[in-house]
């Protein structure tokens, strides 16, 4: 008597499991993560150029980083590995001195606001930088430079890398354990002093054949650390430049950005 009952229970169980498998297969997951590659078209048509010269930058702000040299080195290395252009190896131009010699503020008798002596950078603020902007519109200068290097695309601009500090309330999570040993995390607002840097680069793209500006783009990035944290200025500079390099590269060459997205049923 018990054997048939047992058998029917087993077969009923098998039926339920089978039905569950069928239902699960029919329903399936409601979402799927898929890798995607997003193509980003170049903003600038550079088909007329085979070579690129990252000439130099008017720089200012912190004197802890040689922003001219570091920016030129970084952009040249990125262009070498991520664009089809041949990168011209040339000495880095001291563009602020060239701008001054070409009729900028240093050649004038009256000093620029924020100007300092030889022991520190003359450019401290965006207003100071404006006095050097005329160099980018000097078509003759850029055309002559272009001729010297067989008419490349010229990349220049300005970089202002300034120290920055901000104080205020910051919300952070505080961990605590109650009498039963249970972990609890509560948000706590504390007054914190933070220090960091602001990076304001402007990239100017010049046609080396004509000396005319083809395109320019400005950015602003900032980073703040806890005041007790001692982060070297050069690390901060590279951290901020890392955020901007993809935008810089998409100006010149088509790029692919890898990521993932969720497809839904």
């Amino acid at each position: 008597m018990t054997a048939p009952v047992h058998r029917s229970i087993v077969s009923l169980g098998a039926l339920v499991v089978g039905a569950l498998v069928v239902v699960t297969m029919a329903c399936g997951p409601s979402y799927y993560e898929v890798p995607i590659e997003t193509p980003i078209k170049a903003k600038l048509d550079i088909s007329g150029f085979q070579r690129v010269l990252v000439a130099g930058f008017v720089t200012g702000g912190s004197d802890e980083v040689d922003a001219n040299l570091e920016t030129v080195r970084l952009l040249r290395s990125q262009l070498r590995s991520k664009s089809d252009l041949r990168v011209v190896e040339a000495d880095v131009l001291a563009l602020d001195a060239i701008a001054a010699a070409a009729g900028g503020p240093v050649s004038n008798e009256e000093p620029t606001p924020g100007a300092e002596s030889d022991d520190g950078p003359r450019i401290r603020t965006e207003e100071d930088l404006e006095h050097y902007e005329h160099i980018f519109a000097d078509v003759e200068y850029w055309r002559a430079l272009g001729e010297e290097y067989q008419n490349p695309l010229i990349v220049t601009g300005s970089v202002l890398f300034t120290p920055h500090q901000r104080s205020g309330y910051v919300t952070r999570e505080q961990e605590a354990y109650d009498s039963f040993g249970r972990r609890r995390v509560t948000p706590v607002r504390t007054y914190t002093e933070r220090r960091g840097f602001i990076l304001r680069p402007k990239f100017v793209f010049i046609d080396g054949r004509t000396g005319a500006t083809m395109y320019s783009e400005s950015f602003r990035e900032e980073i703040l650390y806890n005041a007790q944290q001692n982060t070297p200025a050069l690390s901060s500079y590279f951290e901020l430049m890392d955020r901007l390099v993809p935008s810089f590269l998409t100006t010149l060459s088509s790029q692919t950005i890898r990521g993932s997205r969720t497809l839904l049923r």
Partner: protein, 118 residues
């Protein structure tokens, strides 16, 4: 035809509409599922076609718009992708997965197209 007749007629209309909507949704779902299957085999053109059909069949299907936006992103059609994401978010504003996709899309799009000047 009395009041009872009118009520029955209304009920039938409501039922018929519901059934029609359910039919449209079920057809759109099958297009979406087919699209997912082919997208996972990297056949994005076919997937895109399926999801375009799905939104045409059922314009209230947020998942279809979401998937279509992903397909447009994949082919670099960012204006269309933004429109599709916006429509998906409009239909299901509390869907975190759609929101996350849209945020990722915006991050790339803003990073590559926005700067302080030109």
């Amino acid at each position: 035809m009395g009041v009872r007749g009118v009520l029955i007629a209304c009920l039938l209309v409501v039922l018929a509409t519901g059934v029609a909507h359910a039919d449209a949704r079920s057809e759109a779902v099958s297009q979406v599922e087919f699209g997912i299957a082919v997208a996972r085999r990297n056949l994005w053109k076919e997937a895109r076609y399926r999801w375009e059909r799905a939104v045409a069949i059922d314009p209230t299907y947020a998942a279809a718009y979401n998937n279509l936006a992903v397909a447009y992103e994949r082919t670099g059609e960012f204006d269309k992708a933004r429109e599709a994401y916006e429509r998906a978010v409009e239909i299901e504003p509390n869907n975190l997965m759609i929101q996350q996709n849209f945020d990722l899309f915006r991050e790339i799009n803003d990073r590559t197209s926005t700067s302080l000047d030109r």
